[in-house]
């Protein structure tokens, strides 16, 4: 009986992913090496041109800009999220469950609509300014909307749980005895934090950082809405190539390149944590 289920399940998953995953991805890879043609999807002539096009300093500039945004957002999420995850992991179990549910509940509503709600809060005459003005904290309304600050707030708002959850998973399994041992051996709190807690929760931090870093480069509707669409992210670039410029081969090339870069980053991380089986399982 054993082979039957074995073959069935491996066959099923291989067929499904082969057809809808591999085939469609290969299609994109193939298209990325073809010549552009506006009247058809692509012309069947092999070319490296689409990848050579990506060496354009303009594209490089967009890459760098997206990276810059992603780094700031990741840092912000880490600073806000780490203490939260730590507190969460030290709560009684019953409270932990409720807190986790509360953390996720807002994320079941449409992300676009929530971004519009954020927009209404940050407006010149929005709730935030009205509140601060009436309390007398400020005397001039803050101009937050349509600035990079608003983009930062929006991205951190949307991505914070990605940072909190992996760190929480990691800290939750953290043995409190280690801290006590370090304390008993005479280490200061700061030393304990620097030398014990941080290194041990590194896999969680790296995992969270990956999950925040990647989407903050592609979640372009947030930068479009809250930042006034004044800058471009990688997501905009790919969308523009496909839809506006109608250049599918180059759009395909951009996304193949992006996938490769992201894949390489993740691969590096797995290689480094290969011995820590338990941690990297969370990310497969």
């Amino acid at each position: 009986m054993k082979p039957k289920l074995h073959y069935f399940s491996v066959g099923l998953i291989a067929t499904w992913l082969g057809v809808f995953g591999l085939l469609s991805f290969l299609l994109m890879v193939v298209i990325s090496f073809l010549q552009q043609d506006p009247d058809h999807i692509a012309l069947p002539y092999f070319t490296f041109q689409n990848y050579i096009d990506l060496l354009d300093p303009m594209f490089l500039k967009i890459f760098i800009k997206s990276f810059y945004v992603a780094i700031i957002v990741t840092g912000g999420c880490l600073i806000l999220g780490y203490p939260f995850a730590y507190i969460l992991s030290r709560l009684p179990e019953k409270l932990q469950n409720i807190s986790l549910l509360l953390l996720l509940l807002p994320f079941w509503t449409s992300s676009v609509v929530r971004s519009y709600a954020m927009m209404s809060l940050l407006k010149t005459k929005g709730l935030l300014n009205t509140l601060l003005l009436s309390m007398g904290i400020i005397h001039q309304p803050l101009q937050i909307l349509f600035t990079p600050t608003a983009v930062g707030i929006g991205l951190i708002y949307n991505l914070l749980p990605f940072m909190i959850l992996p760190i929480y998973v990691n800290l939750e399994r953290f043995d409190i005895a280690l801290i006590e041992a370090a304390r008993d051996l005479g280490a200061k709190w700061t030393t304990v934090f620097r030398k014990v807690i941080i290194p041990l929760s590194m896999p969680g931090i790296v995992g969270g950082a990956t999950l925040v870093f990647l989407p903050s480069m592609t979640l372009f509707f947030i930068s479009d809405l809250l930042g006034g669409a004044k800058s471009l992210l990688l997501g905009n670039l790919i969308e523009n190539q496909f839809l506006m410029a109608n250049n599918w081969p180059r759009g395909a090339a951009t996304s193949v390149l992006l996938t490769l870069i992201m894949g390489a980053g993740l691969l590096m991380y797995w290689k480094r944590t290969k011995n820590k089986e338990a941690e990297h399982e969370a990310f497969l």
């Binding site: 967009i62 469950n97 959850l165 998973v169 809405l225 004044k230």
Partner: protein, 385 residues
């Protein structure tokens, strides 16, 4: 974009929970289905659901329908309802929000499933040239005479055979008089004034923005000359310090709430904002302005051609067009409909400008691929400023 990632967090909680095996959400289920036999019934139930869905989709494919793919908010549900009541033909209507998505979708499918689509003017030219839409037999449409003659032979479709114009609009300058009470604004050029540093709203649409760049240089907005586009780009670079925001989706709300006090906008958006904030004024610049038209077309070999014609003929009725105007405040290309509209709409200079103003208008038409390539490149560069 990466909506998937947003939801990934849920997965993480699940990872967490799976280790703790006591999350509130699923423990009730876990208790309910402890072991195998009941579990099988669960799978059976799932399979049944999927089968059921297949039947329901099959049933849908057979009946008397017309598949319509239109701009979001440009076809009132009431019109659809009335049409269904009158003819017994079921309307499957889906909406899109950019020509590019419509075009990409039509391009990638070998056989259109839609009977009626509603691209914008310049996409009509492109799709007609590429053989994606077919000629409409105007004689078969008894209500065609309702159409405004000004729209029967537009630049983008000179024969008028590929498209039935539906709604249109114009792009101009808006200004909130509470903030700029005495500024004399008559031309696009006035936006370049250093007085408006970091204050302007521009539409988040490359064609619209470059139209201004071209018009201030006295070029035609449909200019395909790449070197002219470059000049327009350089011209717009000098405008970019004045830009506060690029947006085309929430213009009415930004205008009413006074987030921006000046910039470019579509007339109908300004009209909507004016209802709630009367300080806003709309100006037709003297260099000229662009008229966009969204028109119905029939894709090549539609699955239900006969119903498509019935639908188009219904759309051309005066009452139908009038209903659409009162629902969404887009000017209509249907002349007979004017008789059914309230006076304040017909008399509105913003929605229906007089013939003198209309002379300065240019219909937006298609530009060639080199120009599009250049445009999208310059657009990206402009955003990187």
């Amino acid at each position: 974009m990466k909506y998937t990632f947003r939801a990934l967090n849920v997965g993480f909680v699940s990872c967490v929970c799976s280790q703790k095996s006591c999350i509130n959400l699923y423990t009730p289920f876990a208790r309910k289905f402890p072991a195998s036999p009941k579990f099988k019934s669960l799978w059976v139930y799932w399979l049944g659901l999927i089968l059921l869905s297949s039947f329901s989709t099959l049933a849908m494919a057979e009946s008397n329908v017309v598949n319509v793919y239109v701009w979001s908010q440009e076809l009132s549900p009431k019109i659809v309802e009335n049409f269904q009541k009158e003819t017994g033909i079921k309307v499957n209507y889906s909406t899109f929000d950019s020509n590019e998505v419509l075009y990409a979708k039509m391009k990638a499918s070998q056989q259109s499933q839609y009977d009626v689509i509603e691209p914008s003017s310049y996409y009509i030219t492109r799709m007609a040239r590429e053989g994606m839409i077919e000629k409409i037999d105007l004689k078969a449409l008894s209500n065609y005479h309702n159409l405004n003659p000004a729209f029967q032979h537009p630049e983008y479709d000179p024969g008028g055979e590929y498209s039935i114009p539906w709604v249109w609009g114009l792009t101009g300058i808006f200004v909130n008089r509470r903030y700029y009470p005495d500024d004399k604004i008559t031309a696009w050029r006035d936006l370049w004034s250093a007085r408006y540093h970091g204050a302007l709203l521009l539409l988040d649409d490359p064609r619209e923005v470059f139209n201004i760049g071209l018009l201030t240089l006295k070029y035609n907005p449909n200019d395909q000359n790449v070197s002219h586009l470059k000049e327009a780009y350089e011209n717009l670079v000098s405008l970019s310090p004045n830009v506060r925001v690029y947006n085309s989706s929430s213009v009415p709300s930004m205008l009413t709430d006074e987030d921006v006090a000046m910039g470019i906008a579509w007339g109908s958006d300004v009209y909507k904002a004016q209802v709630e904030n009367p300080n806003i004024e709309f100006i037709y610049p003297k260099e000229g302005f662009v008229i966009w038209v969204d028109a119905f077309a029939i894709p090549k070999n539609p699955p239900h051609r006969e119903n498509a014609y019935k639908f188009l003929n219904y759309i051309l009725k005066a009452q139908t067009a009038a209903l659409q105007v009162t629902e969404s405040y887009y000017p209509t290309a249907n002349k007979a409909a004017m008789a059914y509209l309230p006076k304040e709409i017909v008399d509105s200079e913003i929605l229906f400008p007089g013939p003198e103003t209309m002379k300065r208008g240019h219909f937006q038409s298609d530009i060639n691929d080199d120009a599009i390539e250049a445009l999208s490149r310059y657009w990206q560069l402009l955003k990187l400023q």
